[in-house]
């Protein structure tokens, strides 16, 4: 084939990344004619958020799907190579101590299922967004979250064949009393409208609180010799930066589009800061009590990631008229107490949790006292020392009654009054002739704003008392019927192993025996 020579057009200036990305991601949709657009996007307006110009959405990152697959494929190769090597070399014997595994059990049952829910949530919200820029960004985050759920499950499943409490995490997530805390948190978010979900998860959780979840978890893995979880963390961190920028763009976009959006967004920030903060109670306990080799205290983590970084963020958001969330000051005040109160609760309810608890050793208590000079010796040491005596006397304290739960966060009523760590905080609201109980001013305010949502809460303790938490073979009419034992069986906990105290547990025995085999003949 011959080509006739044509005058070459003047060299066009190379397109910038922004223009190239716009060409590949915009104009992908059309104005429907046989159905009105409000029927195509039925959730776009009912929350009251007003959007006038979706073209003003600034892409928080510029990644195309073909590049996305390449990235994630290579990340997976690296991650699975590390995980395989860790498993083949008996990496679990390089852990500091088998107590470390309990934070993994907590993470796998409590957090990994949320990653999967985040995948579903972003897929749903992306579909509901009339703007194509927001839709593409949500789609990628949705796929990221699916990958995070899978890789977390794979990196922790190596432990399942060797240690107790890893076997039925998905079944437990929907049933076990304290797992209703993270579960209901996410259920609350995905049953909200698309804009509230973006503030709840995209902004409040991914931006304001995620560092408090991931940094301690991943650093905890690194400090305690868990290469698998650490490699997962690095592989996820390169996605998290995208998630954070999406959350920030979402809030800026809403606030800039219409002044009427400000009070709505502020209310969501108040709510979701407090909801997320309550879930992080589990992280506080993990940092201060569950890691054998400790990374930093909850108080220190809170000061860096919330007070310093979050404070800088809210200083900038003030330009839009946003103030710090309502519960901010209380959360800052409570940093001295949170982890101690939470661990005390789990210690009492050892029989109903599929991970091991223990009284902190004298060395660990010295660490607590050093990190919490204002509170530990005064309020919490006496309790732990008393429990240590009880254990030594063979009368470990196990709480056999069920706790009252907060109607909103679903955490047992274990938190104390602001300013008085000796008094449990109780709040009550009336709705439709019934009384509802909450654990704090923060949760009460959330309840009072949307009581019709929270009266539907599936509260594990109520459900147990209503007889909804027994297996089909349970016989409440039998004379030796033990309701709590039946609940534990319904949770699929292996009674006496999964829910045993750490001292004398099979995990402890096996780990010590295997370590001995590694070094002796």
């Amino acid at each position: 084939m011959t080509m006739t020579s044509e005058p070459t057009p003047a060299a066009k200036k190379k397109l910038g990344l922004k223009e190239r990305y716009a060409l590949m991601t915009r104009g992908l949709d059309w104005e429907t004619t046989y159905q009105p657009m409000e029927k195509v996007f039925p959730y776009a307006t009912y929350e009251g958020i007003k959007i006038h110009d979706w073209d003003a959405w600034q892409d928080p990152f510029r990644l195309t799907m073909d590049a996305y697959w390449k990235y994630q494929a290579e990340k997976e190769q690296k991650l699975y190579a590390i995980m395989d090597a860790f498993a083949q070399n008996n990496g679990h014997l390089g852990l500091t101590d088998a107590r470390y595994l309990n934070s993994l059990k907590l993470f796998l049952t409590g957090v990994s299922p949320l990653e999967y829910m985040a995948h579903r949530g972003f897929a749903h919200v992306g579909r509901a967004m009339p703007g194509v820029g927001a839709r593409v960004a949500c789609q990628m985050q949705s796929l990221d979250e699916l990958r995070h759920a899978q890789t977390q499950i794979h990196s922790m499943s190596n432990y399942n064949k060797l240690y107790d409490g890893f076997h039925s995490w998905r079944h437990m997530h929907d049933r076990v009393w304290y797992l209703s805390v993270p579960k209901s948190f996410f259920d609350d978010a995905i049953t909200a409208g698309p804009f509230e979900f973006m503030i709840a998860i995209g902004f409040s959780f991914e931006y304001v609180l995620t560092n408090l979840l991931f940094v301690p978890f991943i650093s905890g893995a690194a400090y305690n010799g868990d290469m698998g979880a650490m490699a997962f963390g690095f592989s996820a961190q390169s996605d998290e930066s995208r998630h954070m920028t999406l959350g920030l763009e979402a809030i800026k976009f809403m606030l800039e589009q219409d002044p009427d959006n400000l009070p709505i967004v502020q209310r969501w920030i108040d709510k979701w800061f407090w909801r997320g903060y309550r879930v992080l109670t589990l992280v506080a306990m993990m940092l201060d009590y569950m890691l054998p080799k400790k990374v930093m205290s909850w108080k220190e983590a809170w000061e860096i990631y919330a007070e310093e970084n979050g404070g800088a963020l809210f200083a900038d958001l003030a330009r839009y008229g946003i103030r710090p969330p309502l519960g901010w000051q209380q959360a800052c005040d409570d940093k001295e107490h949170l982890s101690h109160q939470a661990w005390s609760t789990f210690y009492q309810y050892q029989g109903a949790a599929p991970f091991h608890t223990w009284v902190p050793s004298p060395e660990d208590m010295a660490w607590e006292a050093e990190k919490y000079p204002n509170t530990f010796d005064q309020y919490y040491r006496p309790r732990f020392e008393y429990w240590a005596e009880q254990e030594a006397a063979g009368t470990r304290f196990n709480n056999a009654t069920l706790p009252q739960l907060c109607q909103v966060c679903q955490i047992p009523m274990l938190f104390t009054e602001p300013g008085d760590p000796t008094r449990i905080c109780y709040r009550e609201s009336e709705y439709d002739g019934e009384t509802y109980h909450t654990c704090s001013d923060g949760c009460q305010a959330i309840f009072d704003h949307e009581p019709e949502k929270y009266v539907q809460a599936w509260l594990p303790v109520h459900q147990i008392y209503q007889g909804h938490c027994f297996g089909p073979d349970a016989d409440p009419t039998s004379p030796d019927f033990n309701p709590l034992l039946e609940v534990i069986k319904w949770y699929r906990m292996d009674v006496g192993t999964d829910n045993a105290p750490y001292e004398g547990s099979r995990d402890q025995e096996n780990f010590q025996a295997w370590k001995a085999m590694q070094t002796k003949n």
Binding site: G16, K75, S241, G311, R319
Partner: protein
């Protein structure tokens, strides 16, 4: 060893020292590159090397993949230059930036005028017959007799590249400004390097403009406004110049006359600390307060250019945003010092 780093699509060239990261060099030269973690883990600062050699530094193998390394990508927050470089970064092309080359010239001081009790106008003629071309809003570095240099914005319009006017406020205890106020004399030579900076009018936006200036921060706005009026800009222009007291306002006659001659140009002043009962009859208060009153707290549909002390800039940005003008329409001269890179800053805003 110093290398030249050219950042596409801006076409701007900055210097990068041996051992300095590409990100640090860019930020210090006033070119914002997206970044987050600052130590090679998150990948936010990924850029593509179009030409030249780099050292990847501590880039995480998850944040920077092997296939990306093969395609020439690097993480600007940890990468070092090993030759002159051209990179393509995820920054917006600025059609209004002239990207003038930086040159070193000498200039002879022709006049020093007391503009206010604390501000002197230094006028100099560039010795090179070519002059020193600059874009209104840019600055020059003036070499100090004892070594080092200080940046000062051009106060004159760029139509005459042979002249440099620098309006310098005496900073108590300030080495450079004390030298200029107390030692510099007509006939002295100045060593200048420039023009620098990416503060310029976004003329292609074709929108009404608001200039908010505090104290000697009037320099860039004045240069920009003179340039706009000389070249027949038809869009409305509003300048609000603020000072502590009325005798700290300057170029008042010139700006008043311009406002009389150009119906599109509005000139307002604001004094914040004028003694009670003085004969000042103009507006009292801060620049942002006068702006809010003048525009009825509605700044939509404008481009705003800010220049002045940090507290004034901060108050003005907040006022503009409360009046619904947001980051993409607000511009200011961005000096990033070593202290700024240490300060905890949220990534909510990039350039304000």
């Amino acid at each position: 060893m110093t290398y030249e780093l050219t950042i596409e699509p801006l076409g701007q060239t900055v210097e990068v020292e041996e051992g300095q990261t590409l990100l640090d060099a860019s930020l210090r030269a006033g070119v914002y590159l997206p970044h987050a973690c600052g130590h090679g883990l998150c990948g936010t600062c990924k850029v593509q090397v179009l030409d030249g050699e780099i050292d990847h530094g501590e880039a995480s193998s998850f944040a920077l993949m092997d296939f990306e390394r093969e395609e020439g990508y690097c993480l600007a927050c940890v990468a070092h230059a090993e030759s002159d470089l051209t990179i393509e970064a995820d920054v917006d092309d600025e059609p209004d930036a002239l990207n003038l080359p930086v040159r070193s010239v000498t200039a002879t001081v022709t006049a020093i005028v007391d503009l206010t009790p604390t501000i002197k106008g230094v006028y100099a003629k560039v010795d090179d017959p070519q002059g020193l071309a600059f874009q209104a809003g840019q600055y020059v570095n003036v070499s100090l007799p004892g070594g080092g240099h200080r940046p000062f914005s051009f106060a004159n319009p760029p139509s005459d590249p042979h002249t440099v006017e620098l309006d310098v406020r005496l900073v108590p205890g300030g080495l450079a400004t004390t030298w200029i106020h107390e030692r510099l004399a007509v006939g002295d030579r100045l060593d200048l390097a420039g023009p620098y900076g990416r503060f310029h009018v976004r003329r292609s936006a074709d929108l009404p403009m608001i200039f908010l200036a505090g104290g000697s921060g009037l320099s860039s706005p004045r240069s920009m406004i003179l340039d706009l009026l000389e070249s027949g800009c038809a869009q409305p222009i509003t300048l609000i110049h603020g000072a502590r007291t009325h005798d700290e306002l300057y170029h008042v006659d010139e700006l008043t006359a311009l406002a009389d001659r150009h119906p599109t140009f509005t000139y307002l002043t604001a004094v914040s600390h004028e003694p009670e009962g003085s004969d000042w009859t103009g507006a009292r208060g801060f620049v942002h307060e006068v702006a809010v009153a003048h525009f009825g707290n509605d700044f939509r549909g404008h481009k705003a250019y800010l220049c002045g002390p940090p507290a004034m800039i901060d108050a003005c940005i907040t006022a503009l945003m409360q009046g619904r003008l947001f980051e993409r329409d607000i511009y200011q001269e961005l000096f990033i010092s070593a202290a700024d890179t240490q300060r905890v800053r949220s990534p909510l805003f990039k350039k304000i």
